[in-house]
Symmetry: C2
Subunit: 321 residues, 2 copies
């Protein structure tokens, strides 16, 4: 018998909450386990955002498929996407990197290049980390500290019945690329699905835009799949959702299953009160925004099919255990 | 051809320093790569300390030898020891935990218990982290954020020629325990070496004591071995050192080699100006302090043998790659 990842996180959360009576003065925890980032109050003007993200060979990537430069980019991009999902500004990164003895120097340098090119473009400073031997392959864990105007972080728990559900970009591209790789296709960065899989762009400018204009009531990044990440947002908010299959932005040959349940696209999912949605632009920085459904009372998630019939939304996104 | 761990850290440091022109306002980096913790200025009164520490099955521990409860304790203790080495106060921990599917629920719960017992005793709140499947065994990476009075962090680079070199506790216990385990001995927690290996106590109270009284000019925790960690402190300070073999605190059957080069004891190494050393107590919180040598000009490290003759100190501590 093994508990699921969700049950484990719930247990940690329960256990860790026992200890809140010990909360120190100074840095104060505003949000712990259960959102894209932890939120710490640290000044009268600012909150800190903290996130950590594993990127593990054999779990999240394969070295046969993914160039070292892309692994470096993506190791950081995943953490930046968590900062984006709160509407924050990333400041400092900490890189924990473990390597088996078979990894060549050239691989390490390309990895570092991919990491630092992204950090530089986002004005994020690599401030520390840890290095180690690894028992097998490449292990990375990236921690990012960001800042945000006090109290303005867009959490998962703010959606209310009636809010519109929106997503950035198009979904299912990374899932399509993975299925092509599994079928033996060579990756070509000239093709969108491979570009999304290997060089996903954290939507920091969109998160910031939504936060500054107070347009979003709740937000999460779609890292494990639309269905599971929507379920997470709804669970934290205590709400349900209805989304329309036909509204989900995708470029065929991406299938509806890939768009609904595929992970790794690094897009944002957010909710907007109907009276503010007129203020949403069609796109932000070239990335289109698309309405896909509505937050509803209750705790159920529904998918409206092409024929207009609703059925329960299957929750099939990636769970680690 | 592969670069060494030290060369890799140097390369990261060089590359990351290029980017310092991008330093943001708000949180300001006071110390990046090259100390036990990164230091960020965040208020007129306080600095933040940030550290991350891997604890990897097959590299840092073996599940056949080490109980889950101890793995949880030690995963956190290693990061707390880095905070201790700056004289800081740990506040928040972030646990990244990847588990292969073969790990049983009972193991996970015991791990969490070991982690949370230590965090509670040190008033550290578990505020977030990441969970993942692992390709093989247990992968942990623990990040701790601490606080310290502004500008008071005890860095590695503050030692000056003439300063006395001191250590806490006794050295080589964990190395002895490891050699006993390798020889097939069963671990007994009633024996000091196994207690040190499996339940090392981060010297937070000592770090704090030294910082509050401004007794130490430089400090580092002995995680990889006295010789290599002394070399690191001297390298950052631009100094040399002379230590006396006979002065190094150890309990036989710990050998002088184990005391000089064995890692994992989690003691502190610090330097004290001679005119302040009279203010050092014999012990702090029951942990003895021992003078082992002197910081000297130049960059060389010397070991004074029992016969009074000096020879270059071999640097044999643990390097990951």
């Amino acid at each position: 018998m093994r508990i699921s990842e969700r049950e484990f996180v719930e247990e940690v959360r329960r256990e860790a909450k026992h200890k809140v009576a010990l909360r120190p003065r100074g840095l104060t925890l505003r949000q712990g386990i259960g959102d894209d980032c932890a939120i710490l109050a640290y000044s009268p003007q600012k909150d800190l955002l903290v996130t950590t993200d594993f990127f593990l060979e054999g779990v999240h990537f394969r070295r046969e498929w993914e160039a070292a430069h892309s692994v470096g980019h993506k190791a950081l991009a995943r953490a930046l996407s968590d900062i984006a999902a709160m509407g924050g500004i990333p400041r400092y990164a900490f890189l924990s990197l473990a390597l088996s003895r078979t990894i060549k120097q050239n691989w390490i340098q390309e990895f570092l290049k991919g990491f630092l090119e992204l950090s530089e473009s986002q004005k994020v400073i690599l401030a520390g980390g840890d290095t180690s031997a690894s028992p097998d392959g490449v292990i990375t864990d990236v921690m990012v500290i960001g800042e945000i105007t006090k109290g303005q972080a867009i959490r998962r728990d703010g959606s209310r019945a009636g809010d519109e559900i929106w997503v950035t970009g198009s979904l299912g591209n990374a899932a399509l690329a993975l299925s092509l790789l599994r079928g033996g296709k060579k990756p070509l960065l000239s093709q969108l699905p491979f570009r999304v899989l290997f060089y996903p762009q954290p939507r920091l400018h969109i998160g910031r835009y939504l936060r500054q204009r107070k347009l979003a009531t709740a937000m999460i990044d779609i890292s494990d799949g639309l269905s599971i990440d929507l379920a997470r947002l709804c669970e934290e908010s205590g709400t349900g959702a209805r989304i329309a299959e036909e509204a989900i932005p995708r470029f065929p040959p991406v299938t509806i299953q890939q768009a609904l349940h595929g992970g790794e696209d690094m897009e944002l999912l957010f909710t907007v009160p109907p009276k503010r949605s007129a203020m949403l632009p069609k796109s932000i920085g070239g990335v289109p925004l698309t309405r896909i459904g509505t937050i509803i009372p209750g705790r159920k998630l529904w998918l409206v099919r092409g024929d207009g019939k609703s059925r329960p939304l299957p929750i099939l996104g990636f769970q680690h255990f």
